[in-house]
Amino acid sequence: MNPRPEGTIGTVKQPRPQPTRLRLWLILLLGIPLAIPALGQDGEATHLGAWLHTISDLRGPVALDYTEGGALWVVEADGNRLSLFGPSGKPSRQLESSGPWLNPRGVAVDTRLYVSDPAYRRVLGIAVEAWHEADTVVQGPSGLCEPGALDAKDGRLVIADPLGGRVVLFQGSKRLELGVGLLGEPTGVCLDDEGGTWVSDAARARVEHFDPDGNHVGGFGDYGAFRGLLAAPSGIAWWNHRVFVADRDNHRISVHTEGGDLLYTVGLHALRPREGKGLLHYPSAIAVSADGTRLAVAEPLDGRVQVFSRAMGAEPTVDPLRRVTPQASAHYGPAIRASGQWMLLVEPETHSVLLHDTRRDEAPIELTSFGRRGSALGRWIQPEGIWLDLEERTAWVSDPTAGILDQVLLRIDPQAPLNQHLGAAAWVRRVNLRALKRDLGGVSVFHDPRPTAICRREGKTYVIDRANRCVLVIDETQTCVKVLGAGVLLKPIDLCFDPKGILWISDAWQGRILGFDPNSGESRGSRGAGALQSPDGICCDQEGRIFVSDRAANRVLRFSSLGAVDLSIGKEGLGPEGLLGPRGLSIGKDGNISVVDHGNHRCMVFTTEGEFVRAFGSKLHVRPAMQPKIYDEWGNKR
């Protein structure tokens, strides 16, 4: 492994003159008073990029902002709380979930603290000293779909609404909607000193710039891994005519001029599990302190915030010889579905879906992969929900960003000897749910549909619409004939049928699963309140036992057919019981349950009694589970 210079991760460090032996002695003798002038010879510390410290053990940090005094507010989404840290990273205050919000997602500090509360489609203005009560409730001119990132400056407040595909700017009595029809999924937003708004658009891999009147005046970025390109840009910050972008899927922070030229990058992709100290893993939000001396980066999967300070030396330029971010093994998830011996998995980084065969007792064999990034038939911006039917040799895939549902024919003989089948997928049709003009099953909805998890039964397709928080029922003519759960669900994630025909839906913000009669739409009870923190994937076995992955608690819970929790599988880690942010679940032909261990780049297979069977995926992450005598719980060799 190449040595990596400490303190200048992702930047080009200016060579420092070697101190003479005499000066070394002097430094030793006289200490700091002489050492500081020696460092000063390197020039002024002008650019952000030297790792300073890490704030660890956070519960899903998804947003942050600096106060004028240099303290840092962090939103811990999985803990339903806001935490305040001093300039040294020392915790100083926590606003717990008993506050006025249900699930905080974004934060901005101005004269008051603004917190986005997507569960109630609103933003709250809170005086910190009386935080238990919001003094301001902000909603968009035509309603916010799911407010996320925020920024506030000099009386202006800007709100990113990723599921609504727009940004809302509040300026005095003015309320403007920015980027309608332009933005795909605005995940980050910030204000500059001149009244402009900057928006990072994860779906389009772009940064867009709007003037104070809300007019689009330009932007930069395109999709890719090379420096200067972006992959799912998430957080964004502006300081001193520099635009800082959390380039999430490239695992780095890109620093650009306002014209879009790349100046330098901060951070390298963490390749080994839990690597830090300047190595990044899905940086999702960033903030720059008011004086420009601190850059804070939130990494929800690793539960940490890394803080960078100014590095010594002149502002670096891009080193053309430096290797591009190494491509580590991709993650799996969120979805997994099994049918007979086949198993389907989403691979988010490659924007594709993988078909496996589980005929062998060992790890499954990948038969084919299909789809790539794009908007034409055969491509997706981000595939998310999947369904598999071995008998029909058909797969269904949803893309919430594009609002579509694809049906794909898998031209593979299930009985044929195991082999790779490149190009075996043939697209049958694409259902564009946005073209339904918001008329879904006779129910008029307010937001463009965002289809996610899919389940099929008796010729009907049940698909979760995240934007409208319901389940769409689509018949064989591809017409939406019914809407289930509207007004009841808050954040539906996954769905499955039990043997009695009840449709079960996991709801992350309600912390439980809810049952519905698929015909009448009536409630059939709920499970898991108090036991589940952030329910995600869900599946049911033939005995009617329901398995639910709890993403925030790093475990899978089993509910008996009577509704009681009777088994917990997994704990945080990499060993045979280890999980990190588990997502989709599926029960295969052998009766074992496969868990998408999303944060650990692997899939874990357990018996329905919770015994570890095998792991497959990234070798680095599979080894600690498969060879626990050689590797410890954190992947280090014993």
């Binding site: 790539r372 034409a376 038939l377 055969g378 049906q407 024919l409 031209r411 490149l422 190009g423 075996a424 997928a425 043939a426 697209w427 049958v428 049709r429 694409r430 259902v431 564009n432 749910l433 946005r434 073209a435 339904l436 591809q478």
Partner: protein, 154 residues
């Protein structure tokens, strides 16, 4: 070097040059009923049902066989399941081609024009040897359906 050796080299060279021409269509299920090559003035269309069975596709490439790394054009029309031509607006149709085993498509985008009951697409370019698929997508309301034909190009 012996004369026989030179003959072999000449034969191999000629064989390699001959490989620049494409092979006739080879279709993978569920795509085409490929037809035998006919004289250029009476080309028989290649036929395929849509993958979902909603319509039929007739397609005639020109030249046929499709050349490797040289521009070509094609014309196609859509038929209902009884074989009657569909009067489909051009804006509801799209044509593209891909190398499914390589995960990429063409480097150019063809222009579609309607003429004499057929839709003419030009230019197309299969710049690599191997398996290519031509896709014709038809959009009706909120649903897009696809028909496709496979070609092996050498």
């Amino acid at each position: 070097m012996k004369a026989s050796t030179w003959t072999w080299i000449l034969c191999l060279a000629l064989g390699a040059c001959g490989g620049e021409e494409t092979q006739p269509v080879a279709a993978d299920p569920p795509t085409a009923e490929s037809t035998d090559p006919k004289p250029a003035d009476e080309p028989l269309p290649l036929k395929a049902d849509a993958n979902g069975g909603g319509f039929r596709l007739e397609l005639i490439p020109s030249p046929h066989p499709i050349p490797l790394n040289r521009d070509f054009s094609l014309r196609f029309r859509l038929l209902d399941n009884e074989g009657k031509p569909l009067a489909e607006p051009l804006k509801h149709m799209a044509l593209d081609a891909d190398m499914p085993e390589h995960g990429h498509g063409m480097k150019i985008a063809p222009v579609l024009e309607e003429k004499d009951g057929w839709i003419h697409a030009s230019p197309l370019l299969f710049h690599m040897p191997g398996l290519w698929e031509i896709y014709v997508d038809r959009t009706q309301g909120h649903v897009t359906e696809r028909a496709q034909l496979s070609f092996k190009v050498y």
